[in-house]
């Protein structure tokens, strides 16, 4: 029969809309004030941490709603902000050394909703308030650094092969080696090109030079590495800021976006982001008396430092190797499946390491992480005073004479090995970064934007609702149902999207625009039905024809709009991306609700009946 859907099809439509509604529903619940604790630099948050937090709160009579482990963090929820602030100050005082303590607003999503992945929409910075930075990695510098280390490599390599050369220099985009005779030039070319397969060698017999330049591939790898390394370091530092839900993301080829919701003190954030860090390898002073040192009698050639877990270590002052010789560090597993950290040094570093470890086999070596952290104090010129913070991140026994590549085993868990590798890499920043864009949104403006956006959506929705009702009467109601379902589905899909898809003010504008444009599909269908009726067709025929004929038009029209939205998504950043996202989602959901959704209702109400008139 014409205009009848089988039951399963109607149920399917209902089911899809219901799914959308379920995932949209977390947005209806309010947010709980909470404090979150996450481990700093390799410190893991465990059930023990949870108990410590509980006991501290209990001791100080701070009441909490509940405390739980969530995504590797301890999350304590409170009934009001007053208790939350008290708890933050308390926990920061006691545990702030090892943990980042951050204020957070945690959605009070019921557990059954959370268990099926229901979360509220993430708000963009323009709505939540906070600061975003765009940082640019200085790629030129990254390439120069690699070239410089290649110059060292060439020198040591040629010397090792006993090939005589006059000079090795790096110019803008190549490394030039000058020789005394053609024979050496030839030998060097064979040797160096075998050693460095990712370089392009060009020899010039006339002036006896060999020039090496990086291949496109090598250049690309160098840039990629510089970017990744910076992202790693920034993530590490952002964690120290104690910000709930920070975002650190690459953008394009040389930019990094950092979003810190809720942060107002941008000066502090900027200082921490641009703080410098380095690594030193030093021998543990095994002869010195640790007990005496703890009482203040530290030998002149040694220094007392602390390990992560608070364990004191006595270290020799002499530095075996500094972190700027580290080329790469990564974690993997050794032959007994224990986690290990693999370190690669440049050739100068390799030589130093080799001569320094030769006579120290069997002795423990410490890795010291040094950071210059900004303090609250300023000097006479108003510049922030940086405090040098030294921390022993690993102590390992030297098993053999170490060279250009070596490994540290016994680093504990795999997570710890991974963290150690990250920190080792942080020691030698290949490329400096610079803030090229910064946007700070105050909390009042953020709240205002939410309100304005919400009002605009409601007003736009209301106006269209009224218009459709007056213009199409009964069918207007159907279109309005679809419009409502569409709004719910946009919110549902937005809430389902993991990460990245935050709701922004332009995103809200996108929703408003979708509301206006989504009815277009219904207008097309309804106008077509009217036309068919005017041409004298039966009511059922007209409905059928109306939907059929309008369908391909609707598809074409929506696909082209989708093309524009996707391009906007590819190019845009932050708020604009938010607009592109809501627009794209809106286009897709509106096709479903306006075509399939309305058809289901129309079929159920009017389908298959003998009708003389239609309320359209």
């Amino acid at each position: 029969m014409l205009n009848k859907y089988p039951l399963w099809k109607s149920l399917m439509v209902l089911f899809i809309v219901a799914i959308g509604a379920i995932y949209a529903s977390p947005n209806l619940y309010p947010e709980d004030p909470a404090v979150q604790l996450s481990g700093l630099r390799g410190v893991e948050t465990t059930a023990a941490t949870l108990d410590t937090v509980k006991s501290h709160l209990d001791e100080n009579n701070i009441s909490y709603a509940n405390i739980a482990m969530e995504k590797g963090q301890v999350l304590a929820r409170f009934k009001n902000t007053e208790e939350q602030l008290k708890a933050r100050d308390l926990l920061d005082d006691i545990m702030g050394e090892e943990y980042s303590v951050a204020l957070n607003l945690t959605p009070a999503t019921p557990s059954w909703l959370a268990s099926i992945g229901g979360t509220p929409m993430k708000l963009g910075l323009d709505l939540s308030g906070g600061v975003s930075f765009l940082m640019e990695v200085n790629m030129q510098e990254a390439i120069v650094k690699v070239q410089k280390s290649l110059v060292d490599d060439f020198r040591t390599g040629l010397r090792g092969e006993k090939i005589r050369y006059r000079s090795v220099k790096n110019t803008n985009d190549s490394i030039n080696v000058q020789f005394r005779n053609a024979e050496d030039l030839e030998k060097a070319e064979t040797f160096l090109s075998k050693q460095n397969r990712d370089l392009l060698f060009v020899s010039n017999e006339g002036n006896l030079t060999l020039s090496a330049s990086m291949t496109e591939q090598k250049l690309k790898e160098t840039r990629e590495y510089a970017l990744q390394q910076n992202i790693t370091i920034i993530r590490n530092r952002v964690n120290e800021l104690g910000v709930a839900e920070p975002l650190v993301q690459r953008q394009g080829k040389k930019h990094i976006v950092i979003e810190l919701p809720g942060v107002q003190d941008t000066a502090k954030a900027k200082e921490i982001l641009s703080a410098t860090a380095t690594i030193e390898f030093r021998l543990v002073d095994t002869e010195g008396d640790l007990g005496a040192a703890l009482n203040g009698r530290v030998p002149g050639s040694s220094q007392l430092l602390k390990e992560r877990n608070g364990q004191p270590v006595l270290l020799k002052k002499r530095v075996m190797l500094t972190g700027d010789h580290i080329v790469d560090a990564g974690s993997s597993f050794d032959e007994y499946s224990r986690p290990q950290v693999n370190i690669t040094l440049d050739s100068a570093g390799g030589n130093k390491m080799s001569s320094n470890t030769k006579s120290n086999i069997g002795k423990p070596m410490a890795t010291v992480f040094i950071e210059f952290k900004p303090t609250d104090r300023v000097d006479s010129e108003g510049n922030t005073i940086f405090e040098k913070v030294e921390e022993v991140i690993s102590v390992a026994t030297i098993q053999a004479r170490l060279g250009k590549t070596f490994r540290i085993t016994g680093a504990g868990s795999q997570a710890e090995a991974h963290n150690l590798a990250l920190l080792l890499r942080a020691g030698a920043l290949v490329a400096p970064i610079q803030i090229v864009e910064e946007r700070t949104v105050g909390p009042t403006l953020g709240a205002e934007n939410v309100q304005l956006g919400f009002q605009a959506i409601m007003l736009g929705f209301g106006l269209v609702f009224l218009f459709m009702l007056v213009y199409y009467r009964a069918f207007g109601i159907v279109a309005n149902l679809a419009l409502g379902a569409n709004l719910v589905m946009i919110i549902g899909v937005m809430s389902m999207m993991p990460g990245g898809a935050a709701l922004t003010l332009p995103g809200m504008a996108g929703i408003v625009l979708t509301v206006g444009m989504a009815v277009d599909a219904n207008v097309l269908i309804f106008e077509r039905i009217r036309e068919e009726i005017r041409e004298g067709k039966s009511i059922q025929q007209s409905i059928h024809q109306g939907y059929d004929a309008a369908f391909s038009t609707i598809i074409d029209a929506n696909i082209t709009t989708l093309i524009a939205a996707l391009i906007l998504f590819a190019v845009g950043t932050g708020p604009i991306k938010g607009f592109a996202i809501t627009l794209s989602i809106g286009i897709l959901t509106s096709m479903f609700t306006a075509v399939v959704g309305t058809r289901t209702v129309v079929n159920a109400v009017w389908g298959g009946k003998r009708l003389d008139k239609l309320s359209i």
């Binding site: 403006l445 625009l513 845009g572």
Partner: protein, 315 residues
């Protein structure tokens, strides 16, 4: 209810020469204005620093300007933003100063200078290189969008329609930009987004019309291309008008309720929807007609579902 009750076919195409002239004049005027007045680029494109502050009472702009000047910021542009209690201060990129620290510095100056309680609403700093890149990327995005759409429409319809609709889009974008230039409205990232949305909207309109023209070319055996286009435009006119109304309704909601940050966005779309509606009627169709669209171009591609009711519908 019915807004347009059209009994007869409207002879749209007989006015196409007038429309063509109007479009050409407006496009030339836009180009002229863009060349002389240029666009009033926002911070996103020019780079620099912008500080928005909220005062508890109506702010005294002259006083703020004086404070800025005595502290060495002679180039500061001080304006109200949205209301008389919100003020934006815009500074150009300056050399030798750590630009990212400028925002907080200005905030301190104002705080001590006015003695009022000041609410920091927003600080934006954009490096000059970022702005340049953005302008380049934005232009590229628009171009890519137009090319992708050209390919899609050519693939789905016919190259004459494709060319017609892309020229119509170009026309819409140019006129909207022209209006922004004439009125010296600030052109920022959200406006760029709005213009891409205009492309989407205007195309939507054009596709609906083209689709009907294609359908009618297959269905209507009598009459030349001009008449078929007129019939199609008349048939789709009430849909065009209604969709424009609903879109304008929501845009009005955004314009009046969305707040100052979204004002430029709403303005661009309002202008764009007007221009887009006009262009889908006149520009796209009349270009397809001028390029010599005819029945033969569209006949070979038979779509089955339309075959069934062909006889009934032929007048």
């Amino acid at each position: 209810m019915q807004i347009l009750q059209l009994k007869d076919t409207v002879a749209f195409m007989s006015y196409r020469k007038v429309a063509l002239l109007l479009s050409i004049v407006l496009m030339l005027a836009s180009v002229f204005s863009l060349a002389t007045n240029k666009l009033n680029f926002g911070l996103d494109f020019t780079g620099g620093t912008l500080i928005e502050v909220g005062f508890e009472q109506t702010a005294d702009l002259n006083k703020i300007r004086a404070i800025m000047e005595t502290n060495g910021f002679d180039d500061a542009v001080v304006k109200f933003y949205g209301s008389s209690r919100d003020v934006v201060i815009r500074l150009a990129t300056r050399e030798g100063v750590k630009a990212e620290m400028l925002g907080n510095q200005v905030l301190d100056i104002l705080q001590s200078g006015t003695g009022d309680k000041i609410d920091m609403r927003r600080i934006e700093f954009v490096g000059a290189s970022v702005g340049d890149e953005l302008a380049e990327q934005g232009g590229l995005a628009m171009l890519t969008a137009l090319i992708c759409i050209l390919v899609y429409v050519a693939f789905r319809f016919e190259w004459r329609f494709a060319l017609g609709s892309v020229i119509a889009l170009f026309h819409d974008v140019l006129l909207t930009l022209g209006l922004f230039s004439v009125l010296q409205l600030e052109f920022d990232l959200t406006v760029l987004a709005a213009i891409l949305a205009v492309i989407g909207y205007s195309l939507n309109d054009t596709i609906v019309v083209s689709d009907r023209i294609r359908e009618n070319f297959r269905k209507i055996r009598v009459g030349g291309p001009e008449e078929v286009i007129n019939i199609s435009l008349t048939q789709t006119l009430s849909r065009t008008v209604i969709t424009s109304i609903t879109t304008l309704l929501v845009l009005a909601a955004l314009f009046f309720q969305g707040g100052a940050l979204i004002h430029g966005f709403a303005t661009a779309l309002l202008l764009g929807v007007f221009v887009g509606t006009y262009s889908s009627v006149y520009v796209a169709s009349s270009i397809a007609l001028a390029l010599g669209i005819s029945k033969e171009d569209l006949i070979p591609e038979v779509i089955e579902k339309e075959g069934a009711d062909q006889e009934e519908m032929t007048p």
